[in-house]
């Protein structure tokens, strides 16, 4: 509106010059979805701390055993149950093996298995649960009964049979964990989808003719991303300890290899003699989980399309 309510007319404006070259440039740099996410992640202090811890642990897992003067299986009768010192940074276990080296050798196994098994489980569970919940009806009935059956079979039997069929090893372990591991995520995603599928934004998308699959991927999954990430973070320690249990009954990795779960299991026996043997692996498992959770929360915020471009 112009002054004094007068009508604006064309002659009130003057062309001050036209720069064709400048017209197409953007005032702000063009940032992609991932760049934006990264920018938001960096701003999130706690998430960034989590990321740093994860990176440091991964690097140590790769390099620390290479540069230690002790082999991870070297036993030493003179330093059995040794406390942390300058010689053995994290002390020794009950057979005098250096825990610093064993922790990082164990990290290789535990991080690999924990992350991969949990991620695979989440993906399978999300897809099956998503479809089952979205389409409902008979499909849902059948899928959920299969889930009930899988839940009911003692998982140890499944693992033993998988081992009989394809032999021992880390791959076996991951496969065995995935055969029944996805059902938790599946039930939970299905429940969420049930809750969301009748909500307005889904109905709106349906009315607009969006395809079912794309509704699930673009509208429903992003809405439960936070819960999925939380679930994933909780599934990782579960996988780490399941590995330890399975390795103990000879279904996982073979001695002298170790994992965090195995170290904790061996250490708990020594609780009243040499508590550091259980506290140290427990510390690393906890801090890793803390880091992953912080990172997970940060990632969730960073990837949340609703928060895109905001400073949150």
């Amino acid at each position: 509106m112009g002054e004094n309510g007068k009508e604006m007319t064309r002659d009130m404006f003057v062309i001050r010059g036209k720069n064709v070259n400048k017209m197409e440039t953007m005032s702000r740099p063009n940032i992609s979805f991932w760049q934006d996410a990264w920018r938001r992640l960096k701003k999130n202090k706690s998430a960034f701390t989590g990321l740093v811890i994860v990176v440091i642990y991964s690097l140590l897992a790769v390099f620390a055993p290479m540069f230690s003067r002790y082999g991870f299986s070297d036993m030493d009768p003179n330093s059995m149950n040794a406390l942390p010192s300058l010689v053995h940074w994290l002390g020794c276990d009950s057979t005098g093996r250096d825990l610093w080296v064993r922790i990082w050798m164990g990290a290789r196994v535990s991080l690999t298995i924990g992350l991969s098994a949990a991620t695979i489980n989440m993906c399978i569970g999300a897809v099956i649960g998503g479809l089952s919940g979205y389409y409902g009806g008979k499909l849902d009935m059948v899928v959920m009964r299969i889930v009930d059956i899988l839940y009911g079979i003692p998982s140890l039997i499944v693992t033993i049979l998988v081992m009989v069929v394809i032999g021992r090893g880390i791959a076996t372990l991951i496969i065995a964990m995935c055969i029944v591991g996805w059902i938790g995520t599946c039930r939970f995603v299905r429940g969420e989808v049930y809750r969301l599928k009748n909500q307005d934004f889904v109905l709106a998308a349906k009315v607009l003719g969006v395809k079912n699959l794309s509704i699930i991927i673009r509208h429903i999954i992003p809405n439960i991303m936070g819960l999925l990430v939380t679930n994933l973070c909780m599934a990782i320690p579960g996988a780490i300890f399941q590995e330890a249990f399975l390795s103990y009954i000879g279904l996982g990795i073979t001695p002298p290899n170790c994992s965090w779960g195995i170290l904790a299991k061996e250490g708990i026996k020594m609780l009243r003699v040499a508590p550091h043997e259980v506290l140290i692996p427990a510390f690393f498992i906890c801090t890793t989980m803390l880091a992953l959770n912080l990172l997970g929360d940060g990632l969730r915020d960073a990837l949340d399309p609703r928060l895109r471009g905001s400073e949150g």
Binding site: S46, Y135, G136, G137, K138, M141, M144, R145, D148, I149, Y151, G152, I153, P154, L156, I157, V158, I160, L161, V164, G184, R187, F188, G191, E192, Y194, R195, N198, Q199, D200, N223, I224, G226, L227, V229, T230, N231, C233, M234, P237, F241, I249, G261, A264, K265, I268, L271, R272, V278, A282, I285, C286, T288, M289, L290, N293, R306
Partner: protein, 310 residues
């Protein structure tokens, strides 16, 4: 609703039947034998196989087993040679269930409170503390948690009994140790779920309507956020009530967990099957209850009515 429940019960029976059948044949292909001892001679082994009917063809054994199962008879254990599986379940289940209920009450009540507090204080110190507690709970396994609680409260400070299950004070440590993981999971899921809900339109609407914060949290947020927790609790309830090996063994509680785990590692076929049927039935009931609860807690969801039969 009634029709739906009946339909589900029928489906549950079929599911249970399939479960038994699958496990019946699976255990037979597991490596190892049910009769194991360093001193077992072939003649003795043959006699024992005959005693348990393993000399008959597998399909015949299967039909006989199902026949007995329909009469509610799980048969004799192969490790505990003159005890029936029914007898063992009858003796041990009350202990596991008692421990499990205590643990669940602790886990659900504290877990929900922790999760809600955490979500309402998002990003500040209180939230951070709650998150740390939850992470410790999910990443410290039960064998460490159980041993630590026992060591400090039972042995070092002598505040509570070390083990066994002989009175109320005996139940505190094992139920807290058992509750910790579920407590932490409930609080984590509740927190995330609350945060998902907080950005939804109806919360904004409620705010715009001028509802008090307390009412918004109570009537809208919690009610909408609790569903994932209930979903998670279905199988957890079944698992916790039917016994947990580690806690029961640390605290020397005569529950079912030991038999469940032991039966698999000793190939005690009848025990594995008996435990599986018992646990399976429990699990299916829990999941059925969860599905019905969806409808009760969240009125928009009508899983119960088969709307889509496409």
């Amino acid at each position: 609703m009634l029709k739906y429940v009946l339909k589900r019960v029928l489906a549950a029976l079929i599911t249970l039947f399939v479960l038994v059948s699958v496990v019946f044949f699976m255990v037979r292909v597991m490596p190892g034998e049910p009769f194991t001892s360093a001193k077992l001679t072939p003649a003795v082994a043959a006699n024992m196989e005959k005693y348990y009917g393993f000399d008959k063809p597998l399909p015949v054994q299967y039909v006989q087993y199902i026949g007995k199962l329909l009469q509610g008879d799980f048969g004799y254990s192969m490790k505990y040679t003159n005890r029936t599986v029914n007898d063992i379940i009858g003796e041990t289940f009350p202990f596991s269930a008692d421990l499990g209920i205590r643990a669940l009450v602790i886990a659900i009540s504290f877990g929900l409170v922790l999760g809600i507090i955490s979500a309402l204080n998002r990003g500040n110190k209180i939230d951070f503390i709650c998150v740390i507690i939850a992470i410790i709970g999910t990443s410290v396994p039960d064998f460490i948690m159980g041993a630590f609680l026992q060591y400090f409260f039972g042995i070092k400070w002598g505040l509570l009994p070390i083990a066994q299950y002989k009175g109320f004070e005996y139940t505190i440590l094992p139920s807290v140790a058992l509750a910790f993981f579920t407590l932490a999971s409930v609080s984590r899921i509740m927190r995330s779920s609350m945060l998902e809900v907080v950005g939804q339109d109806y919360i904004k609407t409620a705010k715009a309507k001028g509802l008090s914060d307390l009412r918004i949290v109570g009537r809208h947020q919690i009610r909408n956020a609790i569903m994932p927790v209930i979903t998670m609790l279905g199988p957890t309830v079944a698992a916790v009530l039917t016994g947990t090996f580690v806690i029961e063994s640390i605290y020397a509680i005569p529950g079912m967990g030991k038999y469940y785990v032991e039966s698999v590692s000793t190939n005690d076929y009848s025990m594995i099957l008996g435990m599986t049927v018992f646990y399976g039935a429990f699990l299916i009931i829990c999941n059925l209850i969860v599905d019905i609860l969806y409808g009760i807690v969240d009125p928009r969801v009508r899983i119960a009515t088969p709307v889509e039969d496409s």
